[in-house]
């Protein structure tokens, strides 16, 4: 499925796999590891934290810090072992907090009390890091309220089956979760979107069902949602401009668990894609290092292999298997080093494959020439760089193996930086 078919003159056809692709139909639990790591992207310095090395923490304990969001949740019981200040490769600062796990979970009682009165405040106070969604609170606290919530029973990237598996396994629980969701968010209009084979299961949720063809890149939210609503989304604007919010099936389930069990959800379901492209869904504690998950599945890795958090088309590469999974990590993609195709610094030959493949109808051939030379503003103004929906198909089809998608994202990143600097300077 990763090769161009022998006869192929149109755009690439990348169909998602169905649930029968899973190596086992149920979710495999990953044992609690000895050490967990939590990344805080909105806290820059260790002194912003209310905790320090040696502080004991309980499972589900809310730990405050100075910065956007204002708190994070300890995923296990133990002691803070270390706090380190780091930078991402785009030079953004973040904190890594390592927790030494000690024995069985002791649940922090704070949320158990708060969950007695489920409402928007409780969600805002405790559920920002709901598994399966990058930022839950931004959906429920808005100046202009959303009119529809879209429950995503599809998975954005290829070979990811997390949401589909959960939608298939527990539609009744999702139904219960939807009730909590409308109470918490105040939005009654709910739409469940699933691939065609899950339609019958999804109907058990009682919500309005929409079927989406499981063809990449049309499962990416930026393409999926405007398509469902039949409303165009202006370039470079968030989905909330359409006054809809997207929340994954997994997050709805986690919400249900939170309010029925009265404990904060600290586990994440992850599709692990091995070197042979087989997929296993696992349930792991947030903060579990990738190494422990691969070890539990007996997937061996070696120097020079590739690991990405996310799917094969949009996942984020990591250089070490000590990296932890986060509350919004959907998948772990492992690639054997023999299958690693290195990018190349070759020039564009103008073959037009990327232009054919681009779902945003961009003149990728022109963009890559400008971006290679750092002409980011011109790329945005004259060639619509900001319309890019970030699917990665341009790199996927490039005959010259140019990292086109990387150039596109670099251009967007540089533009965002310049905009931020301009705002800062007045």
């Amino acid at each position: 499925m990763t090769k161009k078919p022998f006869f192929g003159f149109g755009r690439p056809k990348l169909k998602h796999v169905r649930l029968d692709h899973l190596t086992q139909p149920e979710i495999k639990p990953i044992p609690l590891p000895a050490r967990l790591t939590v990344f805080l992207h909105h806290a820059a310095e260790a002194k912003d934290l209310g905790i320090r090395s040696g502080t004991p923490v309980k499972t589900g304990e809310k730990l405050p810090y100075k910065g956007i969001g204002g708190y994070f949740v300890s995923p296990a019981t133990g002691t803070i072992q270390g706090i380190s200040e780091n930078r991402t490769y785009t030079d953004r600062r973040f904190l890594a907090i390592t927790i030494q796990v000690e024995g069985k979970d002791k649940w922090d009682p704070q949320f158990t009390e708060a969950a007695q009165s489920p409402g928007p405040e409780t969600a805002l106070d405790y559920l920002a890091f709901l598994p399966g969604i990058s930022d839950f609170t931004s959906l429920i606290s808005r100046d202009t309220p959303l009119h529809t919530l879209i429950i995503n029973g599809t998975d954005p990237d290829l070979l990811i089956l997390t949401n589909q598996l959960l939608m298939n396994a527990s539609p009744e629980d999702i139904k219960a979760g939807l009730a909590h969701l409308s109470k918490v968010s105040g939005i009654d209009q709910v739409m469940v979107v699933v691939p065609p084979d899950l339609r019958t299961q999804a109907e058990k949720t009682g919500a309005e069902i929409r079927v989406a063809e499981p063809v990449y890149p049309h499962t990416l939210p930026r393409l999926l949602v405007p398509n469902l609503l039949n409303q165009p989304l202006p370039a470079n604007r968030p989905l909330s401009d359409l006054r809809v919010g997207v929340i994954s099936a997994e997050a709805v389930l986690a919400l249900k668990t939170a309010f029925t069990d009265k404990t904060l959800p600290v586990e994440k379901v992850i599709s692990v894609i091995d070197k042979e492209n087989r997929v296993t869904c696992v349930r792991a504690r947030i903060g579990t290092p990738v190494k422990d998950i691969l070890g539990a599945l007996k997937i061996s890795t070696q120097q020079g292999d590739r690991i990405a958090l996310g799917g094969p088309m949009t996942g984020q590469g990591v250089y070490s298997e000590d990296m932890p999974i986060m509350h919004d990590t959907d998948a772990i993609f492992v690639q054997d080093k023999r299958r690693v195709i290195p990018p190349s610094d070759s020039p564009c030959i103008n073959c037009g494959e990327c232009v054919r493949a681009c779902p945003a109808r961009l003149p990728v051939n022109m963009l890559v020439r400008l971006l290679e030379n750092g002409l980011y503003e011109e790329a945005a103004q004259r060639y619509d760089l900001l319309s890019c929906v970030e699917c990665g198909l341009c790199s996927y089809v490039c005959v010259m193996h140019i990292p086109v998608f990387h150039y596109m994202m670099l251009g967007k990143h540089e533009l965002a930086l310049r905009e931020a600097t301009e705002e800062f300077n007045g």
């Binding site: 190349s344 610094d345 070759s346 010259m400 193996h401």
Partner: protein, 124 residues
């Protein structure tokens, strides 16, 4: 971008084809046939594309060589070049174009077939 194997294919392709080309141009070179098939006469009035084969071959008009070429050398095989006898600055030396015009058009008119108009022979 290109791998070592791909580059070697390039070298081998260039080397092998160079030898093939060299052989074709030397050993297997084709000599022009004894009796020309077609002749392109160059002239200021436009080139003339003359079908020699049709005039002499059995399937064509089956003319004998000496019907057109006088003065044949040896066993009447090889025509003598005009300049061998007619001196270039001789007084009664006809112009090449006149000679050819007379010969071609004369025969075409006599036999009542073949082109006689200028543009029927001269390419412009």
């Amino acid at each position: 971008m290109t791998s070592k194997t791909e580059q070697n294919i390039g070298y081998v392709l260039a080397g092998v084809l160079f030898i093939v080309g060299l052989l074709c141009y030397t050993v297997f070179a084709k000599n022009p046939p004894q009796e020309p098939l077609r002749i392109m006469f160059t002239s200021t009035g436009g080139k003339v594309f003359f079908d020699h084969k049709t005039h002499f071959s059995e399937s064509g008009y089956a003319f004998e060589c000496d019907m057109c070429h006088h003065m044949l050398e040896g066993e009447g095989e090889k025509p003598v070049s005009c300049g061998e006898c007619h001196l270039e600055d001789g007084e009664d030396t006809p112009k090449r174009s006149d000679a050819l015009h007379t010969q071609c058009i004369g025969c075409h008119e006599d036999s009542g077939s073949g082109p006689v108009d200028c543009s029927a022979c001269h390419l412009r």
